[in-house]
Amino acid sequence: MNTVGEVEKRPSVLSPATVREGLARFARRYAMQIGIVAVGVFIWLLFLIGSPRTFLSFPIYAAYMSTTPFFALMALPLTLVIITGEIDLSFPSIMAFGMTVYALVLVSTGSHILAFVACLTAGLAAGLINGAIIVYIGIPSLVATIGTQFFWRGVVLVITGGNGTGLTSAIGGVLHTGLVGRVFGLIPAQMIWTIIVAVVVWFFLNRHRFGAHIYLSGDNVESARLMGVNVPRVKMLVFAIMGVAAAFAGVVVSLEVLYFWPTLGEGYLLSTLSSVFLGGTSVFGGTGTVFGTLVASFIIGAINAGIVAAGLTGFWTQLIYGLIIVMSVSLQTVLSRRLR
């Protein structure tokens, strides 16, 4: 587990007591992660019992893997934002803003690759603007990003006049195959991207100086400052990453449905936020894990399909969403208090 206890390193005989102590320490350290996996397994078992035919066959999982990444791709970087003690509510509008730029470039150049690059750049710019308003002007992120959320949606509506853009010309191209194709004809490429993003975000959060500074900025901003952490730069960076991720997710969603709707992003706000919080990231900043967010986003993604497959009407969806979120967050809090 770790290099510390010389006791642990004397392996000769593994007495039951040592094993128990090791297990207890493991449970303490990964309480949140164990909790969220338990919730996931529990819900999966419920669905399995409720509708064994659906949940023992592949198509339902293929469906999860194609739609969950739409918001998981944003929930992962949003975890970084929330660990720094900030929040971002503007990403659904940034998705649409990025795709508006995509559509403009596509219409004028005909190149999806150029459009994609322009889209990510637009997302980066929107993220940096969020960061600048929050860090340098000093507006609380909750207020600032409510503002920019309206602003970017407004920009999208003014530019598009409310009209969408067809993207069928992307079919067969590198971008379409690379982002939303089916690997081996089975696994949606966006699922692979989600895993790649999760690994990269995990690495930077846990094994890089940037991540260490993210935790410190969110935990105790004053001590971080006194110890020489460049808090403004850390916050600018997390918002910039969030902007790029939102633009990227916007492309993935639009290419999957082959159409850009100016309303793109609406409906993703709460599923993205609840993935982060359900995953055990504290709204107060300073703690949170990438693993938790990843598992939680699949729980959120599963609920919708699962309820319908289990034979309940769609009307039940929100009620069960609410129950699962409130119950599992309460459970995590109680568990972590007891284990500590």
């Binding site: 290099t3 935790y215 952490v229």
Partner: protein
Amino acid sequence: MEYLLQMINISKTFGEVQSLRNVNFEVGYNEVVGLLGDNGAGKSTLVKIITGYHRPDPGGQIFWKGQPVDVMTVAKARELGIEVVYQERALADQQSLWRNIFMGRELCHRFGVLDVEKMRRETARLMQSHMGFTSKAITPDSTVKTMSGGERQGVAIVRALYFQAELIILDEPTMGLSLSETRKALDFVKGIKEAGKSAIFIDHNIFHVYPVADRIVVLDRGQVKGQFLKDQITLDELIAKLQHVAQTGRLE
């Protein structure tokens, strides 16, 4: 005689309030100086000038190891090896011990990739050699919020020592601590002396300052009212003098 830190004729005026008046203050090599004074005596102003947060009024001079320091800035103070241990504000509660020890100065491989193993190893070594944590319950991966006040103060002091601080400034390190916790924190101050470093120990509790300080400087209403080498004054005499200062503003 050369001092580690020497401040000559330091004044500081905020608007109409003169919080320091012609203060001369010095810290010797391997010396623990207790800085005593009531609220508003100017202790924290003096410290903030040493750490570069405030500029003194023109006319004052600061010397470090005999060399004049033209402008003391926060960055300059750190570079010289002046570290402040702030009560309560020093640590990130929810992070592990090793992340706190290396806060802002993480050991890295190339490209900023953390050398986690080395930081854990160093933390474990510091825990045994300097912090006296023998309990198996606390590992480098324990979060700081599980620790007591004295232990936390110790972490902050050991962190300063690890990064080769020459002068450690302790801003009320015993505030809000229980009796046994206070003793632990005072032991860490003694550890600074044993490590060959210097310290300025700020407190308004004479019973905490007296046992660990080599010299005690009394500050009152922005002026140095007296200095005592510990071996020249008993605790009782010192208390009597302090009461006199508090009532009259004069030492004699």
